[in-house]
Each structure stands twice: as structure tokens, then as C-alpha cells.
Symmetry: C2
């Protein structure tokens, strides 16, 4: 699974049990005079929708605006998604899938826990920076997901990501490199540091996401005391 | 200033340069057959509005709903606020004022930095738990504030709160009790841990906010290494 992890650009989540849709020939995009150049229109819709939701908020965004921003017809979007809500849900699933898979791929089980913790934190921060609009959209809350099956998927993905982190922390306690800390509490702290980046980090200015993650890792591992 | 800090219940922010409005006799509340029993109707409006915004989102909430929830007429609310946006802005100012003043009051300058950091974190977490709906409302973003003067006030309050924290960290570095960490980066980490509580902490269940803050303080101060 980890081999297919997206690292930089948004990729569409796969629906379970059915293959992803492909661009319908003669769809709305063609009608607007543009050939379907995009390699993955579904992914592109998610990317542009996340940008719109992040800027205007979910409630105040419309499929008309999304279509206009993409130079699509609204019908072209309906080839891939039946509603704004379905796009929102797909963004959440994409983001959590990519986050987990990116972290799982980055963590090398052969390395000591302190290094694996660094790998996890760097990968999480990098994926957040690379998919910033998706994280802003997600911050609005996946209590907002309409499809309860997808909501269960989202919770499972979140748990998988947190589980990966907790195992690193438990391994560190077990091999004596970490103090006897609670993996639940410490994992929560690590994810809080990284998650709050969506509120202040700017992908295009100042420190890179990796530099931030590196500093947080150093702080968590070494602590404040002289 | 710190003597007037609200510690548990929401209090209304004072407008600069003019006294707070008081209940107008014969206002809408009276028309609905209820005497103006509330000690501070303005504070009560903010409290109930924050609850509504936290549950339904700002965009999807209406003053009609707010009035109905309070058993007020809409006119009674207009005695205190001219719009939903003005209520939103007032919630942000109230929350940031209370947060800063509560922390400033809790920090005892005579104590060593490690203890002052604990006091700051406990006070922040407690104020968040006591005003949870206000923090959920604020999470939507004070980019959403309409009054640019109040937005400047909000940024100044946020900076004051962060400044208080940074001074504690700088004092700790200066007196040799903390390592040579960056006060900006470490302050950001402390506030990230506390701020993200709005996404997972439940005021009525499990650990108290103070217990969480205590655990985070211990983790930050001692670090992970055995």
C-alpha cells in the first residue's frame, strides 16, 4: 500500500469496490472547446475545489464557481461528482489517505524510534505543506461529511495514522530510548503540533515545513530543560 | 488590568472609548413578557451566539435562531448588536481578551520560569475549556472579522498573549534553566498544543483541561529522551 503514496501532488482517492471514473469523451470540457488534457480530471477537481473551499469556505462556495475556475461546464463536474458535498467528502478521504500513506512510506522500521519519529513528523509536515488547501478544508471539520461510510473510512485513516505514530513511541519506551510516557498523550501532542500548522504555516514563505518539523522534533525529544 | 480577568464565565469585552450598553427598559425582551433578568444581557448574547455558531457554523446561523434560543425578540438583540457579524467580532475580542488576562493573572512573576510556564499553560487550557464554544467559533478564523479596528485589536491581544509566553521562555534561557531554544519557535509549539485542544478536547468528559496542560508541560520540559 505504501508504495503508491502520493508525496507532493493531490491524487484522487480510490473508491472501494469500483474503479475510478475516467474522463467521459465528449463531456462538458470538450463542449467548452478544450480537449480533456488533464491526466486526472477527478484529482484536478478535488485540488481546485479545495482551493475554493479554503478561500471562501465550504458553505459559500458553489459548483458554478468551481466550474468557472476550471473552465469546465458544471455538467463536466457532474461526470465525476454528484454534488458539492461529495467533493468535500472526497477531499477529506484523499487527504487522510495521502497523509497516512506518506508517513507509512517515510518511516523506516529498521531505524531507531527517535529517528522514526523524525521521519514521521517530517513526512506529515511536508504532506500538509504540499496539500495545504486540503488541510484548510479539512479543518472546517469532517463532522461535515455526509456519507457515513466515508466518515467511517476517514476515522479509520486517522486512527491508522495515529496508530503508526503510537507504535513508534511505544517502541521507544520499550527499548529504553524514551521515558515512560503515554503513547496516547505523546502522540496527541505530536499531532497537535503538526495539525496546528494549518493555522499559521504559509507554504510559500519563511521556514519550510521540514524545518518546522525538525525543530519540533528536537524540542519534543530533548525537552526544554538545560 | 489583570484583576478584572474573567476566569470561568464569558464576560463581555469593553468597547474602547465608550461605556458598554445596558439593557434598554421596555426593549424586546420585555415585550416577550420576560423581565430583563440577566445580569449582563450582552454577555449572554455572546455566550448563546457562540454556542449556535459552534454547533451550526457562522454562515448557517441566523439572528432569528439566536433570538428564538434566548426567548428574545430579534429587536432585543438589536439593542446590543447591529448584526451577526458584530456579534462574531465581539466573541473574538472577548475570547482573546479573556485568554490573555486570565494567563497574565495566573503567571506569578516571582516564580521560576518552569513554574511560570506551567501556570500559563494551565490558565490557557482552563480558559479554553470554560469558553469552549467561543474557541470553536474563533477556529473558523478571525480573518472573518469585518471591523478592521477590532481585527487590529484581536491581533494585538494575540500578540500580548504570545508575548507573555515568550518572556517566560526567554527568562528561562537567560537564567540557565532552559536550553538555548528559540522563544518564537517554542512559544509557537506551546500555543499549538493548547490551541489544538479545541479540535479534540471535550469539556465534560475524560481528563480535565488542567490535567492535559500538566501532561503537556511535563512533556515539553523534560522531553522524550530517557
Amino acid at each position: 500500500m505504501a508504495e503508491t503514496a502520493p508525496e507532493t501532488a493531490p491524487l484522487p482517492p480510490r473508491r472501494r469496490g469500483r474503479p475510478p471514473k475516467v474522463a467521459a469523451p465528449g463531456g462538458g470540457a470538450a463542449r467548452l472547446g478544450r480537449p480533456p488534457l488533464m491526466a486526472d480530471p477527478r484529482a484536478e477537481i478535488l485540488r481546485q475545489a479545495a482551493q475554493l473551499f479554503a478561500q471562501k469556505g465550504y458553505v459559500e462556495s458553489s459548483l458554478n464557481e468551481l466550474a468557472a475556475a476550471m473552465n469546465y461546464s458544471k455538467g463536466a463536474i457532474y461526470n465525476y461528482f454528484s454534488s458539492k458535498q461529495e467533493i468535500y467528502d472526497a477531499i477529506i478521504i484523499f487527504t487522510l489517505t495521502g497523509l497516512y500513506e506518506t508517513a507509512a512510506k517515510a518511516v523506516n522500521e529498521a531505524d531507531p524510534p527517535v529517528e522514526r519519529l523524525r521521519q514521521f513528523m517530517m513526512a506529515h509536515a511536508r504532506f500538509l505543506a504540499d496539500n495545504y488547501d486540503c488541510f484548510v478544508t479539512m479543518l472546517v471539520g469532517f463532522s461535515g461529511m455526509a456519507n457515513s461510510g466515508l466518515k467511517d473510512d476517514a476515522l479509520a485513516l486517522r486512527d491508522a495514522h495515529e496508530g503508526l505514530l503510537r507504535r513508534i513511541l511505544q517502541d521507544g519506551v520499550a527499548d529504553g530510548s524514551f521515558r515512560e510516557v503515554s503513547a496516547a498523550m505523546t502522540g496527541r501532542a505530536v499531532l497537535s503540533l503538526l495539525s496546528w500548522m494549518v493555522r499559521w504555516f504559509k507554504p510559500d514563505g519563511g521556514k519550510s515545513a521540514e524545518e518546522v518539523a525538525q525543530e519540533y522534533h528536537d524540542l519534543l525529544v530533548r525537552g526544554l530543560m538545560a
